[in-house]
């Protein structure tokens, strides 16, 4: 496609919104193609003890459209989970990821299913990006047997063995040493794979994290520690909990990179860079500067420790889906209507999955009726 040549010149300017020549009226299918496209990340990477990767990211229309669809699906899924929780079909704890979708899709785009991912309890979207189905998500949330953990884990414990998704952990920070253990096994098997161990800004102050970092660095493990910094550990702002909220630097002797976590392409670039680094040089920390629109969990309105202006400000300026939408539109990869159709499709998929999930297994009333 002729788009690619113009894309190359467009990338020299720092604005990713520069439209390509309107003389091109070649139409492409909504699924896009693989013709290369280069886009600049929103901001350059900031690095610690290493050289930052370039902010020019190679992508293609197909990838961008996939990003859009996947993130729209995740967004819709989380919002649907919110409604299900309020309808008491989901009980217990439910930590939603909307706003942070770019981290999940960007990471997946840089790696393979043989690489391992392990995360904390805000895991619904990570599970989906690892290939989990909506049915498995909603069934698990509602405690049905068709759930990915047979309904026994619930929201915080999604797992997918065949794509090396090690879950889904309730205890803050506990998954990080585990992740480093996975990396050790990978190094031992010499299969050129890495582990991404995700944690939040709250977990960054757990002692076990530093133990894991030291071990990983000492033994050169292919471990990538990813701090999803959404700036609030439950209700505590990062500056109240951490002497140094520069989480990418906390590894001291371990290199780190600060990434705009709301930019899926920046995430992809950083993860690609991190994987290469980890395979050669051992652990590296990625700090994803991201944001969650919901509160910590469904019991938290999310507005007592941050202003509504802040939340809507992020939504307006940095929303990951909007970023990709603008990119797609400005590069003429799809029309607004086509993108809206995608969103409609995705909404229907989510609704169908919920309906299907509800048909499985016992619901709480049934369970109670058979009580001893």
């Amino acid at each position: 496609m002729a788009l690619s040549h113009l894309a190359a010149s467009a990338s020299r300017s720092s604005s990713l919104l520069k439209p390509l020549s309107s003389a091109l009226s070649l139409r492409r299918s909504i699924s896009g193609d693989n013709s290369p496209l280069t886009v600049e990340t929103s901001v350059p990477f900031t690095s610690h003890q290493c050289e930052a990767p370039s902010r020019s990211v190679e992508t293609n229309p197909k990838e961008l459209l996939t990003f859009f669809r996947d993130m729209a699906l995740m967004r819709r899924m989380e919002i649907a989970a919110d409604s299900l929780y309020k309808a008491k079909l989901i009980r217990g704890f439910c930590h939603l990821y909307d706003g942070q979708e770019a981290v999940a899709v960007g990471m997946e785009a840089a790696i393979t299913k043989k690489d391992c991912i392990i995360t904390a309890y805000r895991d619904h979207c990570t599970f989906v990006s690892r290939g989990g189905t909506l049915l498995e998500v909603f069934a698990e949330l509602m405690g049905r047997q068709a759930g990915c953990s047979k309904g026994k884990g619930g929201s915080m414990h999604f797992y997918k063995k065949d794509s090396n998704f090690y879950g889904g952990h309730g205890i803050v920070g506990a998954q990080v040493p585990l992740g480093c253990g996975l990396a050790f096994a990978q190094k031992y098997s010499k299969d050129e794979t890495v582990t991404f161990a995700l944690y939040g800004d709250g977990a960054a102050n757990q002692g076990q994290l530093f133990e894991a970092l030291n071990i990983s660095a000492l033994w050169d493990l292919p471990a990538i520690l990813v701090c999803e910094n959404n700036h609030y550990g439950m209700g505590t702002a990062e500056w109240r909990a951490a002497k140094s909220p520069a989480y990418y630097k906390r590894g001291d002797y371990v290199p780190g990179l600060k990434v705009d976590g709301m930019d899926a392409l920046a995430v992809k670039q950083a993860c690609k860079f991190a994987k290469e680094h980890a395979l050669k040089n051992g652990p590296i920390i990625l700090e994803m500067d991201t944001y969650r629109y919901h509160g910590h969990s469904m019991s938290d309105p999310g507005s007592s420790y941050r202003t509504r202006d802040e939340i809507s400000g992020v939504r307006q300026e940095r929303d990951p889906i909007e970023r990709i939408r603008k990119l797609i539109l400005s590069h003429d990869l799809a029309t607004e209507k086509e993108l809206k159709d995608v969103e409609k499709e995705v909404r229907k998929e989510v609704d169908d999955a919920i309906a299907q999930a509800k048909s499985f297994g016992a619901d709480r009333k049934e369970v109670r009726a058979t009580l001893p």
């Binding site: 217990g92 205890i171 977990a203 102050n205 009580l371």
Partner: protein, 358 residues
């Protein structure tokens, strides 16, 4: 304020005990003074206010305690006593307890909160190896008796694996600390004040299910309830039931049902699990000849096992039936299957009947 009574004697558990309960108040919480109907978290809140008011070297700290805490137990403390005495910590349980031990070692009343008992394990080493052994290993030069660790424990209906656990048994295995669990608001206030003022490090588990649900008349003044004294909360003659915390109300329901079948049940609230009041339980078993223990924690290795072994040792020839335990199942605390896991009223009732008819 000196809490070490000069005629106190040291117990074999490495604890220091006063000869009689210490109280700044003229009543022990059962009668005089104004009482108001309040819930569990309010009672605990009152105890904390009084603790900080009466000892200016008392501190309250933990995750999110400043705004009042996730269960509102610490409401108003930061406003009243200031940020230097009531403050948030980062998310690091091991650090919280270690820090608390240090603070207590300097003679302060360190009241640390662990947000959920399920999260207490990173601090387990500090509690077991540091707090419990400090006085002993320093030949009494140092101690962290001023340390009290509070944590919400127990099932809440939808807590799942990590918001429902009852870890008391792990701590009951540690000479050098005390473990206390209140069953109601009035008990909680008096017991917590005793724990805070006790010259030994104490772990105080609060039944989260009861935070809002349990409402009782609680005297507004400063009062303390004695530790290591179990309470017979229901007199009976056919069987002794032993429990603590939220489980007692379930057991009480079972007792009521059993009564309809002509079974007279005696119900004992242990209150302090370590060191526990063997005498009271034994006296009851000598009366009834039968005992049933019930707790939410899984049955294997639960504290019921200790009670059972002790009672059999002491009352073997008196027993008319094996010691019964009606407890949580030996599984991780489930989310969807919680109703099956729990030691329900019906399970207890069945066990009462089986024991009585043995």
């Amino acid at each position: 304020m000196g809490f070490r009574n000069i005629i106190g004697r040291r117990l074999g558990l490495g604890l220091v005990r006063r000869r009689k309960p210490f109280s700044t108040a003229t009543c022990d919480g059962d009668g005089n003074g104004n009482a108001k109907s309040i819930n569990l978290y309010s009672a605990i809140n009152q105890a904390l206010h009084i603790a900080l008011e009466t000892d200016n070297r008392a501190f309250v700290f933990g995750e999110d305690v400043s705004f009042g805490g996730v269960f509102r137990c610490t409401t108003g403390l930061a406003d009243r006593f200031g940020k230097a005495r009531v403050f948030n910590t980062p998310l690091c349980e091991q650090g919280i307890v270690g820090f608390g031990i240090g603070l207590a070692a300097m003679g302060n009343r360190a009241i640390a909160e662990i947000q959920f008992a399920d999260y207490i394990y990173p601090a387990f080493d500090q509690i077991v190896n540091e707090a419990a052994k400090f006085r002993y290993r320093s030949g009494n030069q140092f101690n962290c008796g001023g340390l009290t660790i509070r944590a919400p424990y127990g099932a809440v209906g939808h807590g799942g694996h990590y918001h429902s656990q009852s870890p008391e048994a792990f701590f009951c295995h540690v000479p050098g600390i005390k473990v206390v669990i209140p069953r109601s608001p009035r008990q909680a206030k008096g017991l917590l004040l005793s724990c805070i003022r006790d010259p030994n490090p104490v772990v105080f588990f609060e039944p989260k299910w009861l935070y809002r649900l349990a409402v009782e008349e609680v005297p507004e003044h400063d009062y303390m309830l004695p530790l290591s004294e179990a309470e017979v909360i229901r007199q009976g003659s056919d069987i002794t039931l032993v429990g603590w915390g939220a489980q007692l109300s379930v057991m009480e329901q079972a007792c009521n049902e059993a009564e309809k079948d002509g079974i007279s049940c005696e119900l004992i609230d242990l209150k302090t699990l370590l060191p526990w009041d063997k005498e009271t339980v034994e006296a009851s078993v000598r009366k009834t000849g039968r005992v049933l223990i019930s707790h939410e924690a899984p049955v294997t290795g639960g504290f019921g096992a200790e009670i059972s072994a002790s009672i059999v040792e002491r009352c073997f020839l008196r027993l008319e039936a094996p010691v019964a335990r009606v407890c949580g199942l030996d599984t991780p605390f489930p989310l969807v299957f919680e109703p099956f896991y729990m030691p329900t009223k019906n399970k207890i009732l069945d066990a009462i009947k089986a024991t009585v008819n043995y």
